[in-house]
């Protein structure tokens, strides 16, 4: 399947790890021009400032793993939340360019703990990830009419980096234009709830 990614500029934001590498390699194989960045600096990337970004993929870092009832410091919560602030800054920086061209793809990779508390992630992953999905719904509503879609891939179960990269590549492809505001689990069926 041709994903329609040839020549598309994709900013891949997240920690420099095997998951990010797998995403970058697959997107590049599909013809995309991939620029990687740490999440905190991504909004200030030169390509972002030039306004030519076609797609953004954010791999949210894991929140501190503490159970919520043993967290004692406000700073633990604030630290866990900071990647969402950075993600908002990055989305906001790229959306005007995407909207003006009538096409854009935003995607976040989160743990499935977002949909099932305690599954594949910590308590703070659940809380923080829900904020990302709430924000996604707003971006979907505000910018859907101008061809900008925004979705999340929820990683869980025994999903490999390749499993995640496969799903992400479809969501950033030219084929996913009618899917927005959505969160899809890639977890081998581990999520216990129906919805």
């Amino acid at each position: 399947m041709d994903l329609g990614l040839t020549g598309r500029l994709v900013v891949l934001a997240g920690a420099p790890d095997a998951a990010r590498d797998a995403l970058g390699e697959l997107l590049a194989e599909e013809g995309a021009v991939v620029v990687t960045s740490a999440l905190a600096e991504a909004a200030q990337c030169p390509v972002v400032e030039q306004g030519a970004v076609d797609a953004v993929v954010v791999v949210l870092p894991p929140a501190p793993p503490d159970a919520i009832d043993v967290v004692t410091e406000v700073s633990t919560l604030v630290t866990a939340w900071q990647p969402v602030v950075d993600t908002a800054a990055l989305y906001r920086a790229v959306v005007p360019g995407m909207a003006s061209r009538g096409r854009g793809r935003l995607l976040a990779v989160l743990p499935t703990a977002v949909k099932a508390a305690g599954a594949s992630g910590g308590d703070l992953d659940t809380a923080v990830g829900l904020g990302v999905l709430g924000m996604h719904k707003v971006v979907a509503a505000e910018h859907g009419a101008r061809g900008v879609t925004i979705n999340a891939v929820l990683r869980g179960g025994l999903a490999t980096d390749a499993d995640v990269a496969d799903a992400v590549s479809w969501f950033v492809s030219a084929h996913s234009g009618y899917v927005t505001g959505c969160a899809v689990s890639v977890d081998g069926g581990a999520q216990p709830s129906v919805f």
């Binding site: 909004a43 159970a67 919520i68 009832d69 967290v71 004692t72 406000v74 919560l77 604030v78 939340w81 900071q82 969402v84 602030v85 950075d86 908002a88 800054a89 989305y91 906001r92 959306v95 005007p96 977002v114 508390a117 305690g118 308590d123 703070l124 659940t126 809380a127 923080v128 990830g129 829900l130 904020g131 999905l133 709430g134 924000m135 719904k137 707003v138 971006v139 979907a140 509503a141 505000e142 910018h143 919805f195």
Partner: protein, 274 residues
């Protein structure tokens, strides 16, 4: 129905008016000893009088429940006065970026125009404050092997409202519901339940102020904006603060010990999720 609340000690944040006051009154009427907390000294004094009129013992405290030191002070003074805290209601409104523009809030704005730093401010306002009240009260509840945490949340936690400029609550309200859900899982073995009530379209002073603001924003009469809103509510009317307070009171009761980790809308049927 006897709810088994006689003698329980309840800290109710934001209880000088609206949903918080209705909750303090309802818990007082069921025999709780009530810690009335709000930022305004006059508001606290007046609310305390009304709650006393239910026959309840009342401990009034002036505090800002988004301030870490204040939350600790409230819980310490409640413990000094009553010897325990059994029930903690977190009830804090979203932050206001510019009162001159937004009136009573919540912070208004669309994603496209919202500076990223405001997401941090809203997180501190709504999520950190709810967690702080839990941090201060949970050790007392665990020791007693009984406790009730309820957050006064918003329907946007489950179904973000995108027809109004509401990006900050849409982003952070789900976070608060998630925090409450994970707390529920951790505290259940100790007899402490933790739930969220998701409000929608409740006729409070603040909500009226919000609709007045929204009408000005849209250059429409307030009545027209309100009519448009209620037309989308299956029960075709705004809710009353007492209707929220009633569910909170049930969730706090002895009868609701097996209800935990839930996010329950009281919104006239607005929320469309399954």
């Amino acid at each position: 129905m006897d709810l088994g609340l006689s003698g329980r000690v309840a800290v109710v944040s934001g209880s000088s008016r609206g949903i918080g006051l209705a909750t303090a009154l309802a818990l007082g009427a069921e025999g709780c000893r009530v810690v009335v907390v709000a930022r305004s000294a006059d508001g606290v004094a007046q609310a305390a009088e009304r709650v006393r009129a239910t026959g309840a013992e009342v401990h009034p405290v002036v505090a800002d429940m988004t301030v870490e030191a204040d939350v600790g002070r409230v819980v310490r003074s409640a413990t000094e006065r009553f010897g325990r805290v059994d029930i903690a209601i977190s009830n804090v409104i979203g932050h206001v970026i510019d009162a001159a523009v937004e009136g009573a809030g919540p912070a208004a704005g669309r994603f496209a125009g919202m500076p990223a730093t405001e997401y941090g401010a809203e997180f501190s306002q709504l999520a950190v404050s709810a967690w702080l009240l839990a941090r201060e009260t949970v050790p007392l509840m665990r020791r007693a092997r009984w406790g009730r945490l309820v957050n006064v949340g918003s329907g946007v936690a489950r179904e973000p409202k995108t027809d109004i400029p509401h990006v900050l609550p849409n982003t952070v309200r789900p976070v608060v519901a998630g925090l409450m859900r994970t707390l529920a899982a951790r505290l259940a073995p100790d007899g402490v339940t933790c739930n969220s009530v998701l409000t929608g379209g409740i006729a409070t002073e603040r909500n009226t102020a919000y609709f007045t603001w929204l009408a000005a924003e849209r250059d429409l009469p307030v009545a027209e904006v309100l009519a448009g809103f209620t037309a989308d509510v299956p029960v075709r009317r705004m809710g009353e603060p007492a209707e929220i307070a009633s569910l909170i009171t049930f969730l706090c009761s002895a009868r609701a010990g097996r209800v935990t980790g839930q996010s329950i809308p009281v919104d006239g049927g607005v929320n469309r999720h399954l």
